[in-house]
């Protein structure tokens, strides 16, 4: 849209309709009364009567100034001029008219005070800071956007409010941020007309896509705020976001109507007047040049609207398709507006604004938010509704608390026989049954030809007679029940094959075990020679030293005899002089010490006698060829006995081992089956 020069503005284009009712009781009265009730105010009083004597102003038409299309020189719209209206029918509009015609509010404060008096509100202190913090006006926007040397006199303009803010959110007291030389105090008519025109002008602000306001905005929007609320009795106009402040035309004499208002037909006082606002369609005639300067939407006749939505800066105007919704404006009109010629008419023109947002959307005559929010009013919270459940809950809480005595603890009666006892009994019976089996059928299911025991047996059989074998008894008395049968059968075999045995232990208790086993073998084989070196301290460090340096010559054995005194000391100088090294260990650590500290330094083979618990570790070492072979505990001992063809204790006990293993497996299977059968089933969805 091209920027419009101030002179191109049409006079009175956005003026109020001259057909505003002024005397007959109208819906405006009802709306005002409703507003007052909402605010908790008493009925409207006659205090506004002095306001009716306010002289009318015809020189300055705020409506004209508010419109960017109105030329201050050509328009003398004084529709809002507060010419005393003496309709005297006692209606609210009459009272407004009278009150507005009393005095001319010189400042914004005066207007606010006047408005408050009209509404029957008490006076309030003007807050200078609040006044100064008013949202900026169109003038400031225009000043920022206009040329640098624009003759805008609105140097004090603040920033323009955001276009998306609703006019209802703006304080009603907001007028121009600064006054101009031409600006004078508003009268009620001017301000009301400015409000009306401003709503229409909001459309103008939306037309410009680049948010460039016409130059006329800056020049025309020169409104002087009232100096004090007491002086002004005019209802201030509303500032519509993005709209142009009403620019005052040339000053009019009191009571003088602008030219465009003079052309308007005065309304019939007795006839009910439709509350209509004539906007651009009823402005005075314009020159062709002036018409060309108009925006397209103003060139067309604007439908008459009884009330203008104050939500001029709403988003609907900012939308691309949001041309001025004339139908909505028409729909918002609920009552015909009073005659704009009178103060009452002006008030009616201003008052019956239709709220377009919030819970009061569609309701006309809504008081501006500024007034309503500024008034102190007590908020009374409605009492919470009591439901039946709440009443019951309260009744329950009111009951006295009864402390229940603690329930006497019943002593747990220990059961004589439990499921664990049955399992123990089953295991014991399985073991005893196997131990009492005839010896000729002992060793059931033993397959020793492909077991690891066979490899171990081969290694032992590979040691030549008369050679030396190193035995390490690295298990504790707690593991002796499983390893003693294996140790005995190995030592018996070595003794029978006339091999020399050097024994030692990495644990303090192993030395005694070694002595018992070796002594038993000597009794059964008198030519058997052995040396028990006893306890070698240092764990892995001692084992490492044994692998590297062997033992000192004066190292005493378990009987206190130095190593040098042993006949084997001349044959054995180090670990490599042994034909076979057999560590017998019940734990994982001693086996690991042998594999880490000795095996890398020893050239010969190492075969171990282990318990069933560390068989998985031994298999790893066998897989990596670090361990030549191993014999697993009681089962290995039984296999070795069968390989020697000399079944003994190990073969008798391995049957019990098999029976007990079968019994334990059966218990585990039955327990899992019982668990699966008694597992709580998932509830089927309804």
């Amino acid at each position: 849209m091209d920027e419009l020069a101030p002179s191109d503005h049409l006079a009175g284009e956005t003026t109020l309709s001259p057909d505003l009712p002024n005397s007959a009781p109208t819906a405006l009265d009802d709306e005002v009364a409703m507003a007052r009730r909402l605010l908790g105010l008493p009925e409207f009083e006659e205090e506004l009567a002095p306001l009716a004597s306010r002289p009318a102003r015809e020189d300055q038409s705020p409506i004209v100034n508010a419109s960017p299309l109105v030329s201050p020189e050509e328009t003398e719209f004084t529709a809002l001029t507060a010419s005393p209206s003496s309709n005297g029918n006692g209606s609210h509009s009459d009272r407004l008219d009278q009150a507005a015609s009393e005095t001319v509010p010189s400042t914004l404060d005066d207007e606010v005070a006047q408005a408050r008096r009209l509404l029957g509100l008490p006076e309030y202190e003007q807050d200078e800071a609040a006044l100064e913090a008013r949202p900026p006006t169109i003038d400031s926007i225009a000043a920022a956007q206009s040329e640098p040397n624009s003759p805008s006199s609105l140097e004090e303009s603040a920033s323009i409010p955001a276009p998306d803010a609703t006019a209802a959110e703006l304080p009603i007291l907001e007028v121009a941020a600064s006054g101009s030389a031409q600006s004078e105090s508003w009268d009620f008519a001017d301000i009301a007309a400015a409000a009306v025109i401003g709503s229409a002008v909001s459309e103008i602000s939306n037309i410009s896509d680049n948010d460039t306001l016409p130059l006329a905005f800056s020049e025309s929007a020169q409104v002087e705020t009232p100096s004090s609320p007491q002086e002004s009795e005019s209802i201030p106009s509303q500032v519509f976001n993005g709209e142009v402040e009403p620019a005052f035309p040339k000053e009019l004499e009191p009571g003088e109507l602008p030219e465009w208002m003079r052309e308007l037909t005065p309304p019939d006082a007795d006839a009910p007047q439709a509350e209509t606002f004539i906007l651009a369609s009823q402005v005075p005639e314009l020159d062709e040049a002036e018409k060309k300067e108009l925006p397209d939407w103003l060139r067309d006749s604007i439908p008459v609207a009884g009330a203008i939505s104050v939500d001029a800066a709403s988003d609907e105007f900012d939308q691309d398709e949001g041309a001025f919704d004339e139908a909505a404006v028409l729909a918002a009109v609920a009552e015909p507006e009073p005659e704009p010629q009178t103060t009452a008419a002006l008030a009616n023109a201003v008052a019956p604004v239709v709220e377009s947002t919030g819970p009061l959307a569609g309701v006309s005559g809504v008081l501006p938010l500024a007034i309503a929010a500024a008034e102190p009013h007590k908020l009374v919270s409605p009492p919470l509704p009591r439901t039946d459940g709440g009443k019951v809950f309260e009744a329950v809480l009111a009951l006295p608390v009864i402390v229940q005595p603690p329930a006497p603890k019943t002593a747990d009666q220990p059961r004589l026989i439990t499921a664990n006892h049955l399992i123990y009994l089953l295991v014991l019976l399985a073991a005893l049954l196997a131990l009492f089996l005839p010896s000729d059928i002992s060793g059931l299911g033993l397959e020793f030809t492909t077991s690891p025991t066979a490899i171990f047996y081969d290694h032992v059989q590979a040691a030549p007679p008369g050679s030396s074998v190193l035995l390490s008894f690295d298990y504790t008395p707690g593991q002796a029940a499983e390893l003693d049968p294996a140790a005995r059968v190995v030592v018996q075999d070595l003794a029978q094959r006339k091999l020399n045995v050097v024994a030692f232990s990495l644990t303090p208790g192993g030395a005694g075990i070694a002595q018992d086993v070796l002594s038993e073998a000597v009794q059964q084989n008198p030519g058997f020679a052995f040396v028990n070196l006893g306890y070698i301290p240092g764990s892995e460090a001692g084992l490492r030293q044994l692998a590297t340096l062997w033992i000192p010559r004066d190292f005493p054995d378990a009987n206190g005899i130095p190593w040098s005194a042993s006949p084997l000391s001349s044959r054995v100088k180090g670990l490599d002089d042994f034909a076979l090294v057999i560590p017998m260990t019940g734990g994982d650590e001693p086996l690991r010490w042998w594999m880490e500290q000795v095996q890398p330094l020893h050239k010969g083979a190492i075969s171990a006698v282990i318990t069933a618990a560390i068989e998985p570790s031994a298999r790893n070492y066998t897989q990596s060829l670090q361990l030549a072979g191993f014999m697993r505990g009681l089962t290995g001992a039984a296999e070795y006995e069968l390989l020697l063809n000399h079944p003994s204790q190990a073969v008798r006990t391995v049957d019990a081992l098999s029976f007990v293993s079968l019994a334990v497996a059966a218990v585990i299977i039955l327990g899992n089956v019982a668990f699966l059968m008694n597992r709580p089933r998932k509830k089927q969805p309804a």
């Binding site: 006893g534 897989q623 990596s624």
Partner: protein, 237 residues
């Protein structure tokens, strides 16, 4: 002390042996009383075991290590101590410094750090060197198996299982969420899936370990029952 015991049991070995068998049998029954409940007899037997083991170990260490290995050589040649046995003074000093830990004076406890530092240093060196040469390298070599051995399908399957299981067990302890390019995400998905397979192998290994431990415990039970029936009661021949 040894002479007294030997003189009594040497000539009467059977008596000592019988006494030993009876004591062992009664203690075994005391331990079996736990099958009913935690009885006084069980606690007596267990406490006796702990005390006897600790006492026997202490006696063996004092005799074989402290006396025969350290003090006896030093005291036997005090005249030429610094000429012949001066090296024994070093372990004597380090061992004595460990006892300073009992002194509630921080200045005294500072000297105990020498002995502790020597122990920690030697232990760490042995552990690290042994782990590398005795565990890591040989196990890596054992895992690097050919997946296509010479015409042996069973051996190939065995090698495949070993490789897949070993790598899967390692990947099971990899908790890294890989994001980024599609290739990285695919890599992360593959390793995560392989880790799940590795967990299955770990569970199988845990089951095998449990079965072996059970077998070991049952073996101990059976052996003790055999002792009671054969050595103590002579029911079983």
């Amino acid at each position: 002390m040894d002479t007294l015991f030997t003189s009594f049991c040497g000539g009467n070995g059977d008596v000592c042996n019988v006494i030993g068998i009876w004591v062992a049998a009664l203690l075994t029954l005391c331990v079996f009383s736990f099958l009913i409940r935690d009885t006084f007899l069980f606690r007596l037997a267990s406490n006796l075991l702990v005390g006897t083991a600790a006492g026997y170990a202490g006696a063996v260490i004092i005799r074989t290590v402290l006396w025969e290995g350290l003090l006896a050589p030093l005291l036997s040649d005090m005249g030429n101590l610094f000429a012949n046995e001066w090296l024994l003074l070093i372990p004597l000093a380090l061992g004595a410094s460990l006892l300073l830990k009992l002194v509630p004076n921080w200045r005294a406890t500072t000297f105990s750090n020498f002995g502790l530092g020597y122990l920690f240093g030697v232990g760490a060196a042995l552990a690290i060197s042994g782990a590398l040469s005795g565990a890591l390298v040989p196990q890596l070599g054992a895992t690097a198996l050919s997946l296509a051995p010479n015409g042996d399908a069973l051996n190939m399957l065995n090698n495949l299982l070993i490789v897949v299981g070993t790598l899967g067990a390692l990947l099971a302890f990899r908790f890294v969420n890989v994001n980024g390019t599609p290739l990285l995400r695919a890599y992360g998905q593959v390793t995560a899936t392989w880790g799940i397979i590795g967990r299955a192998f770990i569970m199988v290994a845990f089951g095998a370990i449990f079965a072996n431990v059970l077998a070991a415990r049952v073996s101990a039970l059976v052996a003790q029952l055999y002792f009671l029936l054969h050595d103590w009661l002579a029911i079983i021949k």
